[in-house]
């Protein structure tokens, strides 16, 4: 399929308003999964897809009035967030943030440390030294993807938005409606899980 380059968002927005198919394909490719992450994080998996569809309709409706005060994607994700939160209110539920509530737990297993806080099982040396080297190994790549997919959805969302897409923490917190300190803890947990997955693979390659 053909995906034109929309470096200039004004062009993209105008083409969406004009109903250009390529423009719609572009935003679906670039935004849809992120929209699902937001909806899933806030309302849970069962109605995430429904909320995203609702959000798309709002996006299309509101697009002619979009004023470019933020990036289009940020604006779209805020709409998803609002749709999701409205949905929660209607069903009088609160945000299912899962383990965001037990923030006391350490990111690494307790057994890795002695009582005095020293390493009980110290990090092992890795025989790889660059992201390129890590991702050159198909095996290790699979290990990392699997580790990411097995994270709780909120951690997966924060890790993707922050580390893969480079979104600001501030924006992530606004969209997911969580505090900066919670999001930092969750991000660190997610990263620690990936670190552990790489370490485990170094110890016992599959």
């Amino acid at each position: 399929m053909d995906y034109p380059d929309y470096t200039h968002e004004r062009v993209l927005i105008q083409e969406l308003i004009n109903g250009e198919e390529a423009a719609f394909r572009h935003v679906v490719k670039q935004y849809h999964q992120s929209m699902l992450y937001v909806a899933h994080s806030i309302v849970g998996s069962a109605i995430a897809e429904e909320v995203v569809q609702e959000a798309w309709v709002s996006v299309i409706k509101a697009l002619p009035g979009f004023e470019s005060r933020s990036a289009l994607k940020t604006w779209v994700l805020r709409i998803v967030s609002n749709c999701a939160k409205t949905r929660l209110r209607k069903e009088s539920r609160s945000i299912a943030m899962g383990d965001a509530n037990d923030l006391e737990f350490a990111a690494l297993p307790e057994a890795r440390f002695r009582e005095n806080g020293h390493w009980a099982s110290a990090p092992r040396r890795w025989n790889i030294a660059s992201p390129e080297a890590i991702l050159a190994s198909e095996e290790l790549k699979t290990v990392i993807y699997t580790a990411i997919e097995s994270l709780p959805i909120i951690q997966q969302t924060i890790l993707t938005f922050r580390d893969m897409e480079g979104m600001s923490m501030d924006e992530i917190c606004k969209i997911l409606d969580i505090s900066e300190s919670n999001s930092r803890v969750l991000l660190h947990r997610a990263r620690s899980k990936i670190w552990q997955a790489i370490e485990k693979h170094q110890d016992e390659p599959c």
Binding site: R25, H32, Q33, P131, I144
Partner: protein, 82 residues
């Protein structure tokens, strides 16, 4: 004094440069003395840099086509209403 466990908890914030000046100093002091934590902090940095090079999940072409078609139909009905 920060323990190795503290270092493991603060490694992300160190990477993101969000530690307070006091914490940053204590963090560095610990690394000067602790080989294990130096190793951990460098591996954590490598982990984060690796994640940064991964392309986020995207829908596949048939899914994109289906969703885009749906959206264009919605968009058309809205224009017709105006």
């Amino acid at each position: 004094m920060l323990s190795c466990k503290d270092i493991s908890q603060l490694a992300s914030e160190n990477f993101d440069k969000t530690l307070s000046p006091m914490q940053r100093m204590q963090f560095r002091m610990h690394l000067l003395m602790c080989h294990n934590c130096r190793l951990f902090v460098s591996q954590m940095a490598l982990t984060i840099e690796t994640i940064a090079t991964i392309t986020p999940l995207q829908p596949n072409d048939p899914q994109i086509h289906e969703q885009a078609t749906k959206l264009m139909a919605i968009s058309k009905t809205m224009i017709n209403k105006e």
